[in-house]
């Protein structure tokens, strides 16, 4: 029996395990939304902007490990996805974006709502398709899921012209994909693994540097096993948070520009750096020739293009982090805790994370209270800026896929729609959305679907009435010339929450923090918007200025000369 291309598309999505789609309809994607109307196996969340759909699908993928799916129509719908797709690409998130497109006969003619979205997204997708032949629907969707979720994950876009979704096709499900030009390396080379084991056994001052790749490969258990058996301390990247519980005695928290001083000291002085699923980002390394300069480097990563990209690697191992760690563990013998560990622990005591306690409301305190109230068990969805770094420093993650944030692209406005994706993915968990007063205003419209779907997201606005991170840079490096960072003019977030049907609260004193959070934890049928009026000019420390070395690390605000 023949069905429409749109029906074949929806069936193909279901066939690959799609349960939720985040999207926004429009003219050219109408046939697909019509087919979706009859489909009972898929929930569609109607966002209020396509960018929100992409971020929600992205966060759904981060929270579940499954492929996130988003829909948008042609032209402006598709271009509105672009930031979200770039965001997923930079953080290697498996996502399939389906866009409507004008009829194949109109392609390239500047038809109404036409945009060359495959051309536009070429550099920000792992791969994309212009689906011109209705016969290819099942195969292309199968390939899209396969490409998105294997090797180094990433977003795949499928552009579907309207005549293709209207065409009559024989639907034959495609489950197995074979691409001669795409064969990700999965197993690590045994000789390299043996070399790595030897280097680990020989090292006197080893450190593990774990990134988001550990989480996407589900390799946390193996990572913790490696750390425990060898007594090697572990620092993680922003996206690696939760790869090892940060309450674990071997965890050093995050490294890099705003990482803990002790993690950065450990990396600066180590003689072996074991990088796992991390890509030596500039926010991690700072000045390249000063980064871990005494260390031999082992780099375990699924993407061969990452090996030696910025840092010289002595022992590269390309493949799936989990598989490699399982093999590596076969060679690893227990090591005693060394004087090196004692040295790092001493740094930890000497240079702890700290903030002022003078009766003002400090954001770090708010994060600590959130951790306490949520017992360290919430899914934390964080935007971009100062509050992101405070959350990374003070919310001690206890499990993988717990900390969801825009790392590589640094997309302000990511977190509210992302919190929707995360709460839909994890109805069993409390979801905290930590966001700045700048970021929340970029995607505030997504409060609506959160209310519609009764999602009890706890939105914590760290409101300093500034674009805080930019202001911090202006204060420290631009002579306090506060150009265009004052956000004093802003809506009343309580009234705004009320207008959307969410609960609003304003918190101005430290003693009001806990009661507000506890109240939010009680609300289970709608989002809560908490407007925390934090110390306006609080900065994020420690800080290693961009492109500099650990020698330049600031532990606190420089004294006025």
């Amino acid at each position: 029996m023949k069905i429409t291309g749109a029906q074949a598309l929806i069936r193909s999505l279901c066939n690959h395990g799609t349960e939720v789609i985040f999207g926004y309809p429009g003219g050219q994607i109408l046939p697909i939304y019509d087919a979706l109307y009859d489909c009972e196996d898929v929930q569609h969340i109607l966002m209020r902007h396509e960018q929100g759909a992409a971020h929600a699908a992205d966060a759904y993928a981060r929270a579940t490990g499954k492929v996130g799916v988003c829909f948008a129509t042609s032209g402006p719908g598709a271009t509105n996805l672009v930031t979200g797709i770039a965001n997923a690409y930079m953080d290697s998130i498996p996502m399939v974006a389906i866009t409507g497109q004008v009829r194949t006969t109109s392609l390239g003619k500047d038809a109404f709502q036409e945009a060359d979205i495959t051309g536009i997204t070429m550099p920000i997708t792992k791969h994309n398709y212009l689906l011109k032949n209705p016969k290819d629907i099942a195969r292309v969707i199968a390939e899209a899921f396969y490409i998105a979720s294997t090797g180094r994950p990433g977003p795949v876009l499928v552009d579907v012209p309207m005549d293709v979704s209207l065409a009559q096709v024989d639907y034959v499900p495609v489950d197995k994909v074979e691409l001669r030009s795409y064969k990700p390396t999965i197993a690590g080379h045994p000789i390299q693994i043996a070399k790595a084991a030897k280097a680990i056994a020989a090292a006197e001052r080893p450190v593990i540097y774990a990134g988001g790749g550990v989480i996407s490969a589900d390799a946390s258990e193996e990572l913790v096993e490696l750390a425990e058996r060898t007594n090697i301390l572990v620092t993680t990247t922003l996206l690696g948070k939760g790869a090892i519980p940060e309450t674990h005695p071997h965890s050093l928290g995050m490294l890099g520009m705003h990482g803990t001083a002790y993690a950065n000291y450990a990396v600066a002085h180590c003689d072996l750096l074991v990088a796992i699923g991390a890509r030596f980002d500039d926010r991690v390394t700072g000045k390249l020739d000063a980064f871990a300069k005494k260390a031999k480097v082992i780099h375990i990563d699924v993407d061969p293009a990452e090996v030696g990209k910025t840092v010289h690697v002595d022992i590269p191992i390309v493949g799936d982090c989990k598989k490699i760690l399982i093999e590596l563990l076969k060679h690893i013998r227990p090591r005693e805790e060394s004087t090196w560990n004692k040295q790092v622990m001493q740094w930890k005591t000497e240079y702890p994370l700290k903030y002022t306690n003078d009766g003002e409301l400090y954001p770090q305190f708010v994060i600590e209270e959130i951790w306490d109230v949520s017992k360290g068990d919430a899914v934390v969805v964080v935007d971009v800026g100062q509050h992101q770094m405070w959350a990374a420093q003070y919310y001690k993650c206890t499990f993988p896929k717990q900390f969801i944030t825009s790392g590589g692209l640094g997309t302000m406005g990511f977190s509210l729609p992302a919190a929707i994706g995360a709460q839909v993915a994890r109805p069993d968990k409390a979801v905290f959305n930590i966001v700045g007063d700048g970021g929340i205003q970029m995607t505030i419209q997504e409060l609506m679907p959160a209310v519609v779907h009764k999602l009890p997201i706890k939105i914590v606005i760290m409101n300093n009435q500034y674009l805080g991170m930019v202001r911090q840079w202006q204060e420290l490096f631009w002579n306090k010339r506060y150009s265009s960072v004052d956000l004093t003019a802003q809506p009343d977030f309580i009234k705004l929450a009320d207008a959307y049907g969410a609960v609003g609260m304003k918190i101005e004193k430290p003693e009001d923090v806990r009661p507000a959070l506890l109240k939010a934890m009680e609300i289970d049928d709608r989002p809560t918007v908490m407007d925390f009026r934090i110390a306006r000019e609080e900065n994020v420390f420690p800080m290693i200025p961009a492109g500099q070395s650990i020698e330049e690390m600031m532990l606190h605000r420089p004294k006025i000369k």
Binding site: G119, M122, K126, L130, L179, S181, D303, A305
Partner: protein, 165 residues
């Protein structure tokens, strides 16, 4: 050229599909690299195209580009022929001013370069020449003095010497 910049010849075998050239060239454009020459055509397997790309650039950056080319889903194989023993050829057609007084000299040049005159008009010869890039540069320089009306080069194609591919 600065000393770390050298000329690279990279060959890619790709799926013969729309958009592949844009994906490949995009990796060079992103870094502001100019492609000096590019030759694309199908191979003995009509589903596979072969691209020969000549580009000047820093060795480390080109190694990175090569790795990223390999990551493109439509790219089947990437070979960097730089410093490899290869045979290389390029073909050019040169339309040169040719009037009674200089025809003999041009025909002599054509002869020496084992080129061919493939079209003739009252005022011009069209010369076909095949050879290494250097040989084509040389005949171009010699014909220049007669006035070149139009010129087209295919871009370099290469193959490894001997039995190995």
């Amino acid at each position: 050229m600065p000393k770390n910049i050298i000329q690279h010849t990279i060959t890619t075998l790709v799926e013969n599909r729309p958009g592949v050239l844009a994906r490949v060239s995009g990796l060079f454009a992103r870094r502001g690299f100019n492609i000096e020459s590019l030759a694309v055509s199908i191979t003995n397997d009509p589903s596979i195209s072969r691209m020969t790309i000549v580009v000047n650039g820093d060795g480390n950056v080109l190694e990175q580009i090569t790795k990223q080319l390999n990551k493109l889903i439509d790219v089947i194989k990437v070979i960097d022929y730089t410093d490899q023993p290869t045979v290389e050829r390029e073909l050019a057609m040169i339309k040169v001013n040719a009037e009674t007084k200089n025809r003999a000299e041009i025909m002599q040049i054509v002869d020496i370069f084992r080129a061919k005159i493939i079209d003739i008009s009252e005022k011009t010869f069209t010369v076909e020449v095949t050879g290494s890039v250097a040989k084509i540069d040389a005949i171009e320089a010699l014909l220049e003095s007669h006035g070149i009306q139009e010129m087209v080069r295919t871009g370099k194609i290469v193959m490894m010497r001997g039995a190995n591919g």
